[in-house]
């Protein structure tokens, strides 16, 4: 965080930063403020166990014996945990939002649509995510007015989030889309995140959440939105930046195989869980036994999910192989294989030497998204290229 505040190179104003950096920056601030809640909860739980305090432990009978605890409140733990827990989901999501913006812009050769709105949305989501935690506690017996309040804040967060999705789509619109492996993963992210965000809207409403809470529907929701979607971005990021880190490209064919099996496989795993949840199948149970509402066929669906998960797992072996194999056998990448504008692609050496830049730090003259600028000589203008050609492109029609 202090790096972003104090160690930006000359010319790198906040509004010239790539969205990746904005996402990571905001997530860092959030992490610093959210993790203390987890810490407080953990310390107090530890004391309950070690010193016999009753912060969270109510009076309990265990194996016929009265434990010495009394009066503690598990709800208090839930408050502390989710005060950390909900910001945490956006700590995961915001860097992913940032990275995916940069992947899309680079691989569609188009400036990101609505950069300012993207920045504001990141900041707004970061702030709002601290006032929605109790949407995880609708069934804890809290005051119904609180439920109403938290449902409202929860649904308000959907607005900046939706703005981001629209802006990604508008960036793609009329873009010169290159379906490279990083781009495939970025597109998969958008679809998956949209899917998970929509089920979030269901769960954000108290009346819908009460029957769905603690069912497989919730598992489907958060695996789509926090599991699969960010992992798509992580993979996209690895395929995108691997050439800068190693100097070689990852194998394209293996990458495509990895993408399709992972993407379709993840849907085969998590999509059916929505249905299981609607049936009423509870989460966290190792075995549910006989119920009147879960048909036997649910077990068949679970078996199918397991098979799909194994296939996805196998595809990751292929990915690991690709990572290692390409280290020595991959195609030489050159310094800037994707013709990207941001600074990391302009380093004098690839992989970058110690300190990245040698003696002279780069100076930034423009924002991170000068793709397909009319009149420019190439379809991208690096951030550190001085504005010498201004006259020519201003003269262009």
């Amino acid at each position: 965080m202090v790096t972003v505040l104090q160690a930006r190179t000359r010319g790198m104003t906040l509004m010239r930063m790539p969205l990746t950096v904005w996402g990571i920056f905001t997530a860092t601030v959030m992490a610093l403020l959210a993790f203390p809640a987890l810490f407080v909860g953990a310390v107090m739980m530890l004391l309950d166990r070690l010193l016999g305090t009753s912060f969270f432990m109510p009076s309990l009978v265990e194996m016929g014996q009265h434990l010495q605890h009394s009066g503690g409140s598990p709800i208090l733990f839930q408050h502390l945990f989710w005060f950390f827990g909900h910001p945490e989901v956006y700590i995961v999501a915001l860097p992913a939002f940032g990275i995916v913006s940069d992947l899309i812009s680079t691989h569609a050769r188009r400036n990101i649509f609505g950069y300012r709105m993207m920045v504001w949305a990141i900041v707004a989501i970061g702030a709002l995510s601290f006032v929605v935690w109790a949407h995880h506690m609708y069934v804890s017996g809290m005051n119904p007015y609180f439920g109403f309040f938290f449902a409202t804040t929860t649904l308000i967060i959907a607005i900046p989030t939706a703005i981001k999705v629209y802006n990604w789509l508008l960036t793609l619109w009329h873009g010169d889309i290159h379906l490279t492996v990083p781009m495939l993963f970025a597109l998969a992210f958008i679809v998956t995140f949209l899917n998970g965000g929509l089920t979030g809207l269901f769960l954000g409403n108290v009346v819908v959440d009460v029957p769905l809470s603690d069912t497989m529907f919730v598992v489907a929701h958060f695996h789509m939105v926090m599991g699969v979607a960010p992992i798509m971005v992580i993979f996209g990021g690895i395929y995108h930046w691997y050439p800068k880190i190693t100097g070689r490209m990852l194998n394209e064919a293996l990458g495509r195989f990895h993408f399709w099996v992972t993407f379709l496989g993840a849907y085969a795993v998590f999509f059916p869980m929505h249905y299981l949840g609607l049936l009423g199948m509870p989460r966290r149970y190792p075995e549910i036994g006989e119920t009147s509402f879960v048909p036997d066929s649910a077990a068949t669906l679970n078996a199918f999910i397991s098979v799909a998960a194994l296939a996805v797992g196998f595809a990751q072996m292929v990915f690991l192989f690709n990572l290692i194999w390409s280290l020595s056998r991959g195609r030489q990448a050159g310094g800037n294989p994707w013709n990207a504008t941001t600074l990391e692609w302009q380093t004098p050496e690839t992989p970058p030497g110690h300190g990245n830049w040698g003696k002279e730090l780069p100076v930034v003259y423009r924002w991170a998204y000068d793709y397909s600028v009319p009149g420019a000589e190439r379809d991208f203008v690096p951030q550190n290229q001085p504005p010498a050609r201004r006259a020519t492109w201003e003269a262009a029609p």
């Binding site: 104003t13 906040l14 809640a37 016999g52």
Partner: protein
């Protein structure tokens, strides 16, 4: 959770104020050229270490605010809260901590004027009184325990130990930084480095004093 929300609201106000000076409404796609052409947006003139400490105080502050939130909530969650008699010793400890803070403030003033003897004496006084404070806190614990107030006896007692421990550990961490400042002051020359170190220590001490006054007040009132 209202205490932590209030604290975060203060932080959000500061962050908002800072962001409002960062030209977030600039249209970067139109602003091509060297930095000098556009006002604002560079790094701040403050040393990075000072900003780092500010960030740390925000984090430590939210940690303590969360403990206070938990305290306030647990009080009313069951009928088992029995307020505890705070040992009189705590008043004395509070006085010692005030002295410690004053000493560090004087060290800072001396460092600004370049008077090295004053820096050294006050740093040592500040450190010494902080150690006395910690010893006093431990003594207070022992008095409490001797009269039967142990963590498991009542949530009020548990919070007393927990909160004083958290505050004490922060002070202990501060002592490490203070020891390093003293090491820097040892050669007897006033450097910018030293001034910065002393300033950071003083900032941190005042913060911990303020926090202690808040926590002590809370313990007394409830």
């Amino acid at each position: 959770m209202s205490v932590i929300l209030l604290f975060l609201a203060v932080l959000a106000t500061i962050a908002g104020w800072w962001l409002s000076k960062q030209r977030l409404t600039a249209k970067p796609w139109l602003e091509e050229g060297a930095i000098g052409d556009f006002p604002g947006g560079g790094a701040s003139a403050l040393p990075a270490a000072k900003i780092g400490l500010g960030v740390f105080l925000a984090v430590a502050g939210s940690l303590l605010a969360l403990f206070v939130s938990a305290y306030a909530m647990r009080m009313h969650m069951a009928q088992d809260w029995r307020p505890l008699p705070e040992p009189k010793l705590l008043w004395l400890n509070t006085g010692v901590l005030v002295v410690s803070s004053i000493a560090l403030h004087r060290a800072l003033l001396a460092a600004r004027r370049g008077r090295m003897d004053g820096v050294m004496a006050n740093l040592l006084a500040g450190g010494g009184s902080a150690v006395v404070f910690l010893a006093g806190q431990i003594l207070a614990w022992r008095q409490m325990a001797a009269s039967g107030y142990v963590p498991a006896s009542n949530p009020a007692d548990a919070f007393f130990y927990l909160i004083t421990a958290v505050h004490g550990l922060h002070l202990l961490g501060g002592l490490v930084a203070l020891a390093r400042a003293i090491a820097k002051a040892w050669p007897g020359v006033a450097t910018d480095q030293l001034r910065l170190s002393v300033e950071l220590c003083a900032m941190y001490w005042h913060f911990l004093l303020l926090v202690w006054l808040g926590l002590f007040g809370m313990l007394l009132l409830t």
